[in-house]
């Protein structure tokens, strides 16, 4: 058995760790006793609110996704019914089999398309947002204040208004086509509205601040002397960037990417207003099933499937959040 100079053995370390854990648990118990019932009073209101209006709805969605539509109020079949005095539970799996084995593959295609659009938009936001966050984090204090306000400002205005603004300038006779024609770059107006390109522009435009903010927070904490050191030791800029700056801002990258990816996956307004007939994203499908076809159970099943896709990114996001919290 290897023994260190001062007699430190693995068993001793293990014992020490156990002791420390026990002491921590004791302190924790003391804190509990001291605050007693009062702390539960503080926890109570937000916890109850979220249980009632956030967890319970998801259980209900899950339940309704196993029923079928009926012409009734509410428009779905009950799961539990009483037949001849006996309780009967009917779980319909049709909604899920519908989604996965649909003949035209509309649902599967729209899931794939949504994942594709959300991933590429996240990538574009990262590529555009990283330089902006870097410039913000490293510029002079006075400039930073002004720029920070200017970059946040658009997101305080209405979301629909921002999409509407892009509709006006991407039109056939809109500003972008006018400028490109005047410069002689193109001869005919480009067809931009109602294409996937417009959807990407809209998502990047609206979600860019959500990417820039966590990146900016991470870049503010970076130890820039390390980067100077890397330079002085002859490291090339690209290598420095990937070996020093990226690892140091990893939590910001993960948080920003998830803040864009997760909501973008279920985006409804942007593809509806900017996208064409073929940009059928899953948010649009859900909306149509609910509002146009009034098929609540199918809409619920679509939502549950979407949540299943989002499970991994959400867990990833929470771990990144927890890590950054623990470092504070």
């Amino acid at each position: 058995m290897p023994t260190g100079i001062s007699g430190i053995t693995p068993t001793l370390i293990r014992q020490k760790i156990k002791q420390r854990r026990r002491r921590k648990a004791e302190i924790r118990n003391m804190v509990h006793q001291e605050n007693g019932i009062r702390q539960y009073a503080v926890i109570f209101l937000p916890y109850l609110w979220m249980l009632l209006f956030f967890l319970l709805p998801f259980l209900i969605i899950f339940k309704i996704s196993f029923s079928v539509t009926e012409i009734a109020i509410p428009p779905y079949s009950p799961l539990v019914s009483f037949v001849d005095g006996a309780m009967q539970i009917l779980l319909h799996l049709e909604n899920y089999t519908n989604i996965f084995t649909d003949e035209d593959g509309t649902y599967l295609r729209s899931y794939l398309k949504s994942v594709q659009v959300a991933s590429f938009s996240t990538l574009f936001c990262l590529i555009i947002g990283y330089p902006i966050a870097w410039a913000l984090a490293t510029c002079k204090n006075t400039t930073r204040n002004v720029m920070f306000m200017l970059i946040i400002m658009p997101s305080w205005t209405s979301f629909v208004v921002r999409i509407y603004a892009w509709m006006t300038i991407m039109k056939k006779d809109g500003l972008i086509n006018d400028i490109l024609m005047a410069l002689g770059i193109i001869d005919e107006p480009l067809h931009m509205l109602q294409t996937d390109f417009a959807v990407y522009v809209g998502i990047v435009y609206c979600y860019l601040p959500y990417m820039v903010l966590p990146l900016f927070a991470a870049l503010m904490k970076v130890d820039y002397t390390l980067i100077e050191a890397a330079y002085d030791l002859g490291c090339r800029p690209i290598k420095t960037f990937f070996n020093s700056l990226i690892p140091q801002t990893k939590s910001g990258i993960v948080a920003g990417s998830m803040l864009v990816f997760i909501p973008a996956l279920g985006e409804y307004v942007i593809p509806e207003l900017l996208g064409g007939k073929d940009s059928i994203l899953i948010g649009r499908i859900l909306w149509q099933e609910f509002f146009n076809n009034r098929d609540w159970p199918l809409a619920s099943a679509v939502a549950i499937t979407m949540l299943a896709i989002l499970a991994i990114p959400i867990v990833w996001f929470f771990n990144a959040q927890r890590k950054s919290r623990e470092r504070v």
Binding site: V42, W49, I60, V161, L208
Partner: protein
């Protein structure tokens, strides 16, 4: 070829990046504002300067009604969200260990990231179910919209308040407790005054989020309640209209004014801090000199 130092090079790079970002962010908004003063009904062809569309806007009763409804929902949701958000932030920062802590954190952050279509559908189905027992939910009017908005706005409020709360020095609270203040008194006399700026920004953020929400509200609202974003969305879907440009310009102006004043506050606070630091440094220097002379 001019030789530039590394600092100059990175300075130019930063200038180019930030200018490009500003053009990308503000070009659409600027176009929107310019065309709101256009006489023509065509949104993209400029004819003559006029306030015609503003006049039309102020005589549109549907829009005025929607604005009033949105404003009242936003004020009520923001107020409730700040209360819930502050409590949740206190729990997350000051009480670390309790059963179901990670579930608590999940509930308080998830409404922020989840796609709105999912949250909207979930809340609607809840309200329909609850409507059988509680008549307030059945008509899906202002009350239901308020509950829905508070649910996602309080997540934002929690984040804002929490980020200020972690910076607070816990020893001040402990001192107050040792001097015999009740937890209630500690909160109102010590904690609340020092997190007041965060409370204000949490209120403003929740207010904006509530004013701006379209998808969740569309799911939850019954046929009688139409909020401002719903009106804008339905008219935008029908086609471009200069009246919406005028409305958008007003929204942008209000947002810009608020952001400007918030920014002014931050700058003044920073200036004050810098002055304090400079004064402290000066005093320390004088003291040291006095000591040396002796």
């Amino acid at each position: 070829m001019v030789n530039l130092t590394k600092e100059q090079k990175s300075g130019i790079a930063k200038f180019v990046i930030l200018t490009a970002a500003l053009i990308f962010l503000y070009l659409p908004i600027a176009t929107l504002i310019v065309y709101s003063f256009n006489e023509s009904k065509m949104v993209t062809v400029w004819t003559e300067f006029s306030f015609k569309w503003y006049n039309a806007l102020f005589h549109n009763t549907a829009i005025i009604k929607a604005v009033l409804l949105s404003l009242s929902i936003a004020v009520c949701s923001a107020a409730a969200s700040v209360v819930i958000g502050t409590l949740a932030a206190l729990v997350m920062v000051r009480i670390h260990y309790f059963k179901g802590e990670s579930a608590f954190v999940l509930f308080m952050t998830a409404p922020m990231v989840l796609p709105e279509v999912i949250t909207g559908l979930a809340l609607l189905l809840l309200f329909v179910t609850l409507g059988d027992f509680i008549p307030w939910f059945a008509d899906r009017g202002m009350f239901a919209i308020w509950v829905a908005h508070v649910t996602f706005c309080s997540a934002y409020a929690t984040v804002v308040v929490r980020s200020r709360l972690v910076e607070l020095d816990i020893s001040v609270e402990e001192a107050a407790k040792d001097l015999g203040a009740t937890p209630f008194k500690v909160f109102f006399a010590v904690v609340l005054p020092s997190i007041m700026p965060a409370e204000v920004s949490a209120f403003l953020l929740s207010f904006t989020m509530s004013m701006d929400d379209l998808v969740i509200t569309s799911f939850v609202a019954g046929p009688e309640s139409t909020t401002l974003p719903m009106i804008i969305f339905s008219s935008v879907r029908r086609g471009l209209s200069p009246e919406i440009n005028a409305l958008a310009t007003i929204i942008i102006l209000v947002a810009a004014t608020c952001t400007f004043f918030a920014w002014l506050q931050v700058v003044q606070k920073q200036k004050r801090l810098a002055q304090d630091a400079a004064a402290a440094a000066q005093a320390a220097k004088e003291e040291r000199q006095a000591l040396l002379q002796r």
